[in-house]
């Protein structure tokens, strides 16, 4: 095989490998991803066994701790207490800024009638007052 042909073969092989790997990557990202839902969406669409990223605000007076489990309810940012609220049972690291009224992101899975928070998946957003901090808080795992 002359050099030019060898080079073409190499190029084709390399490109094919790249395409295959990229496809595998893209495919798995869609199946491994957790859709981000608000509480009102979650209540309607949640299927047991799938994990979802719940985003919303921690409802006032909903936080209680039972041993290792932290119980709290998440409501839509827009509707607050008047709209749907999802009760979450969460174990794992609780970020410092977590408290009632803060915006959180937590990965949950519907088990029976309950929503169980995935371990160490709770993220609390910086409160809006400090919204301009460029490189603050990294509170997840």
């Amino acid at each position: 095989m002359n050099p030019a042909r060898k080079r073409t073969v190499r190029l084709v092989v390399a490109l094919s490998v790249a395409v295959v790997l990229a496809s595998a990557l893209i495919y798995t990202s869609f199946s491994a991803a957790s859709p981000a839902l608000t509480p009102s969406q979650l209540v309607h669409e949640a299927q047991p066994g799938r994990s979802y990223e719940l985003t919303g605000t921690v409802l006032a007076h909903s936080v209680s701790r039972d041993g290792d489990v932290l119980n709290f309810s998440v409501a839509d940012r827009a509707t607050g207490a008047t709209g749907a609220a999802v009760p979450v049972a969460y174990t794992g690291t609780v970020p410092d800024p977590f408290k009632e009224g803060r915006e959180v992101i937590v990965t949950v899975e519907k088990q029976g009638g309950e929503y169980v928070g995935e371990r160490n998946s709770l993220i609390t957003k910086c409160p809006s007052k400090y919204k301009e901090t460029p490189a603050s808080e990294k509170q997840s795992s």
Partner: protein, 748 residues
């Protein structure tokens, strides 16, 4: 003064517009005085922005709350150091810092190249001023650093307590230096394509700036990881967060560029790769800047107005489209004379290096922007977590480390079998020996971690071999004794051997990463005083609680303050802390932890959580004193073989403690925080008397320190590589003495 600041910005914008026009006119008509005028516009821009930055800094230091930026992020009680650094904790201030740094680096770059590659430099000037103009426009139209309100507020909101750590305040400027430096090679890369000139001179110029960008960005990333680990309460150093990834991406392409540039230098190959990489580095840096401040991704960081997103997207689109256009239309110029002869050659190894790094960039880019991609494609926003990232980056990192050991020793053009045997015997042997030793020692079989250890051993083997052979060669050639030969070898070939040291540093770093992630023992549970927990080989016992109250003012200076201090001191178990950490926490609740191993005491740790005051009257006169964002103060025992990391989340919301706060809110006036402090002291005393169960996060992690040591080795190697060689200095001296001799001749 704010008016002067606004004038500065407008003047800066005008200077940018003029400079772009002048540079392009100058280079296209050949009237170089215009190009020089364009260069001087950059100098002028740096000067104007310096004036603007100083105005803002002075406003912060003088507590001039008329400035919105000052009122939003500083307060009278903020310590001076943090006041000065608070400038860049706001969106507007950070934009000003970015633009200012960029103008400084651009001025430096143009000053250093004022006699060289004039055509490229002129185009580069226009591009750099384009960036400057973009950021200044943002400051003029969207996020004004010199916006004021009247009437002037009497007090500011104060600095986010999470930022009151020295490392945290140095981290943004360091990272911004890295980001802004990435735009310089981008400008010179585009300039070279525009001027149709990608030769040895261009390589020499652009390598320096690319290296500077790589260096500062790398330090910024390392500092960020270190801060995340030692200051934040989650116990990790890397979480694949969007902001972390944003800084890593240009660093990866920068690494690829610096390496593949060597191949272009030696054999004139990979030219298309090189210009593409340098353009990608700059574009990724701009994308990173955009990501961090646009709030477009649903990550931890929700910065800035959404309004900033659109201009950035436009800029990035222009950069990408422009880069692709330039590379395609100039592709004949980037034609290579030589080709890769064999897959087993140095050229191929460097190409593989490029491929692996680009693959890493693709994975991380995809994962980071996935929420946007999935929303665009499926209408549903979804995100991928760290396990997905790890799945793809770990194997790629393994290959990368392996390549960093192969690259230095593999032969050029075509590696024969005999040649391979000679060069790879020792490294492979060392890797296998390491595997055997680890398995024999009973290390748990975690395939990726073991593979990384072996790859690292391979790197150590090949680099040591390089040093040894080089030393032996020099010793034979120059007749020097081995130690002298070694020193002389490194001095005369700094780039090569400094680079080898960087490879060692990376290998060490990855050993630390592999060990600390695969062999970590973690425990998260509630403990009451007296209880203990097993974490790996360690037993950690919660001995007793601690409480410290630090009033937010100098308690000894007023009569009331002194009385208050006396009251607080009278509470048993409560310490009246001087605010030695200068963190400004009103109340600190913590624990004394006894760490022991096999019954023998190892160390005592004092983690705590600081509760800060907020400016929300709705929380009550006592409630607001501790109603601000709490910050965890982590306690780490760092050792050569392992780190013991502890954090505490005390329960401040027990019924008893809440009753104290409610009572205080009802009876004590908001306007006198000093009186509210009495309630806080009572709270602390109650906590000490019967401490409720606290949540602990305990980690025993092997070899964490080697991550930081590896980082230091990388920095050291990089400095050696960039240090100007002694021979150049000698010749410069000779040149000056020659000039002096000429002068003597002239006057004779």
């Amino acid at each position: 003064m704010a008016l002067l600041g606004r004038i500065c910005l407008l003047l800066a914008l005008a200077v940018c517009a003029y400079g772009i026009g002048a540079s392009i006119y100058g280079v296209r008509t050949g009237r170089w005085e215009w190009a020089v005028s364009g260069r001087r516009s950059v100098y002028a821009l740096a000067g104007i922005l310096t004036v603007g930055f100083v105005i803002l800094e002075v406003a912060f230091l003088r507590d001039d709350f008329a400035f919105n930026a000052v009122a939003d992020t500083s307060s009278r009680t903020t310590p001076t150091f943090y006041k000065a650094a608070a400038v860049w904790s706001s969106q507007e201030g950070s934009l000003l810092l970015w633009a200012w740094l960029m103008s400084l680096w651009s001025s430096l770059a143009l000053f250093l190249t004022r006699r060289r590659i004039r055509d490229v430099a002129a185009y580069a000037t226009a591009i750099m001023l384009g960036f400057g103009g973009f950021f200044i426009s943002l400051m003029v139209f969207y996020a004004q650093p010199f916006a004021t309100t009247s009437p002037t507020p009497s007090e500011g909101v104060g600095l986010d307590p999470l930022l009151r750590f020295p490392t945290m305040m140095i981290h943004p400027p360091m990272l911004y230096s890295g980001y802004t430096l990435c735009t310089i090679p981008l400008a010179f890369g585009m300039g070279a394509l525009l001027a149709r000139r990608v030769d040895a001179e261009w390589i020499r110029v652009i390598r320096r700036f690319a290296f500077g960008a790589w260096f500062f960005l790398g330090i910024g990333i390392l500092l960020g990881a270190r801060w995340s680990y030692s200051e934040l309460g989650w116990g990790g150093y890397w979480g694949w967060d969007a902001v972390e990834n944003a800084a890593l991406l240009p660093w990866l392409t920068g690494t690829a560029f610096l390496h593949s540039l060597m191949i272009q230098e030696k054999r004139g190959m990979l030219k298309v790769w090189n210009v593409s990489l340098v353009l990608a580095t700059g574009t990724l840096a701009i994308m990173g800047t955009f990501l961090v401040r646009s709030g477009v991704l649903n990550s931890i960081h929700a910065f800035g107005g959404q309004t900033l997103g659109v201009p950035f997207v436009v800029l990035i689109a222009v950069l990408i489209a422009g880069s692709i256009y330039l590379v395609i239309t100039r592709r004949e110029m980037l034609h290579t004379e030589h080709r890769i002869d064999s897959l087993l050659s140095r050229e191929a190894a460097f190409l593989a290096n490029n491929l692996v790094l680009v693959a890493l960039v693709f994975v991380i880019l995809w994962g980071t922007y996935f929420p946007l991609i999935s929303e665009a494609l499926t209408g549903q926003e979804a995100s991928v977590g760290p396990p997905w990232f790890d799945r793809y980056t770990v194997p790629l990192a393994l290959i990368l480390v392996l390549l960093s050991g192969i690259g230095p020793v593999i032969a050029w053009r075509r590696a024969t079998l005999a040649n391979a045997r000679r060069n790879f015997l020792v490294p492979i042997g060392l890797a296998l020996a390491t595997l055997v030793v680890l398995l024999a020692a009973g290390v748990p079989v975690k395939p990726f971690a073991l593979a990384m250890f072996c790859c690292a051993a391979f790197v150590f083997g090949s680099i040591s071999q390089e040093f040894f052979r080089g030393m032996r060669a020099r010793s034979a050639m120059a007749g020097e004794a081995p130690p002298t030969a070694l020193v002389a070898l490194v001095r005369r070939n700094r780039r090569r051997y400094g680079g080898y040291i960087v490879h060692i540093g990376i290998a060490v770093l990855f050993v630390g990463v592999a060990a600390s992630t695969s062999f970590q023992h973690e425990s998260e549970l509630g403990l009451s005083p007296g209880q203990s927990s097993r974490v790996g080989a360690y037993t950690i016992k919660y001995v007793r609680s601690t409480a410290s109250v630090t009033p937010d003012y100098d308690s000894s200076s007023t009569q009331g303050g002194r009385e208050l201090s006396a009251i607080i001191r009278a509470e048993p178990g409560v310490t009246l802390g001087p605010d030695t950490a200068r963190t400004g926490a009103t109340l600190s609740l913590g624990a004394v932890l006894d760490v022991s191993k096999h019954g023998r005491h190892v160390t005592t740790l004092y983690p705590s959580e600081g509760f800060y005051a907020s400016e929300e009257p709705t929380q009550g006169s006592v409630g607001h004193l501790i109603g601000g964002q709490p910050v965890s103060h982590v306690a780490i025992d760092a050792g050569v073989t392992r780190d013991v990391w502890t954090a505490i989340a005390p329960n401040i919301e027990t019924p008893q403690l809440k009753r104290i706060v409610t009572l205080g809110n009802r009876t004590l006036p908001y306007a006198h925080p000093g009186e509210g402090m009495v309630a806080i002291a009572a709270l602390a005393a109650a906590y000490m008397k019967s401490p409720p169960q606290a949540q602990f996060h305990l980690i025993a992690s092997p070899l964490v320190m080697w991550i930081w040591i590896g980082g230091l080795i990388v920095v050291g190697g990089a400095l050696i590589a960039i240090w100007p060689a002694p021979s150049v200095v000698r010749h410069r001296v000779r040149a000056r003495s020659r000039a002096r001799a000429e002068q003597g001749l002239a006057s004779a």
